[in-house]
Subunit: 267 residues, 2 copies
Amino acid sequence: MSLKSDFENGIVVLGAGNVATHLSIALSKAGFFIKCIYSKTTESAKELALKVDSLYTNELSQIPDKADLYIIAVKDEIIEEMIKHLDLKYGMIVHTAGSISIDIFENQFKNYGVFYPLQTFSKSRKINFSNIPICIEASNKQLESKLLNLANCLTNSVSLINSEKRKMLHLSAVFACNFANHMYSAATEILDQSGVSFDLLKPLIIETVQKAIDSNPIKAQTGPAVRNDKNVIQKHLEMLKDNPEFEKIYRFVSESIFILNQKKGKK
Amino acid sequence: MSLKSDFENGIVVLGAGNVATHLSIALSKAGFFIKCIYSKTTESAKELALKVDSLYTNELSQIPDKADLYIIAVKDEIIEEMIKHLDLKYGMIVHTAGSISIDIFENQFKNYGVFYPLQTFSKSRKINFSNIPICIEASNKQLESKLLNLANCLTNSVSLINSEKRKMLHLSAVFACNFANHMYSAATEILDQSGVSFDLLKPLIIETVQKAIDSNPIKAQTGPAVRNDKNVIQKHLEMLKDNPEFEKIYRFVSESIFILNQKKGKK
């Protein structure tokens, strides 16, 4: 397949965590050659390498120098340091981080970019890549085209998103994923205290998401905060008095719901 | 059907809002006789009455006095006042509110209870009642049995939940539904500012919910807060400096994610 000829010398994946694992497996399944997995933890590198039939190493100095693409998929906070230790004379380099600008590469490389899959990954959970948005940015048109082709082999949702927009997308994803999930965590904690099963909340959780996705979450809002039902709000705050973190969240999220609703002029 | 003979003199629904509408329609579809809809707004009463082929009134003094069941499905804050104005010599009475104790009826009625459907309802949105949890509480065993039978005609998920547990369930539902939804609202607001489509977040939102439901939201958490990635957190807070409500939410939810993760000893 001609699309794949751009990557026939193989892909090196730096990292063996959640993103690296799912991305390497998806690339391998799509027929790309994973040449080497690097992780500072040999066991993690080996585990992933076995899954994608590649070499592995725990030494940055040992990674192959003639691959077509180097994908950095490590924790955001160590990307900069890792780049400093990379001495690549060949190939293109990308990172997979929502919050890091493409400029992090500019002093050291010519062909660089970002390959950001917008999803929450856990190693133990199977995932279907085919509808995961992949956001692409590249230092030049030729590389952009190659990365778009690569992404199109994995998913039906590929977008060109520059660093500024990607940062906002990443911030919004923290709200929509991590923070929404924490609201479920708070709910389980509250239910645990009273011996009620989390299962009872599941139909509500699913309908809430479906409603937000089908229409618009601001319009779809219900509950005491949007009604400004001070009586219920006050009772709930009292019920949370032994849990200052959840009490603070309750107070500020309720305020924010009410303010946003006023601003958007509904109800 | 013998189950329905307990309600052959009909059901009066007090209220014509989201809950009243969906519940009346579900009862009517299940073959129960809706005798009358009351709403202080004639138009709302009439609109719902037409859907369930019943009488309607906007005067509490005009509601039929020989129905088998009176269902109060109005805003929590006006239930108490409404009860004071009800003079019923016959039938059973229930409310549908998560946050209100069954005791609200005790000085005035003998056969009273709670019929709490745990779901987020919007009038304009069709809903399938068959998997919505209905939580029952009753002043005596005979009524309890009748309400359980009634609920079983609407859904496969019926539970006996006392007022204390129902309050906790309602509080947890505010987190899991209203607050999670507000996290989506915040995400849409942030994306709107940068001209990125909310559609890009939808696969992430769906996978986050699916993961939380399949395992446990506390274990499923990902992102900068659970990793305690101060660098990303600080950048995000700066990006939110023109939006003090979202900034506060970001700060306190991140803190709470980290604290809960430490407490549960994961990662």
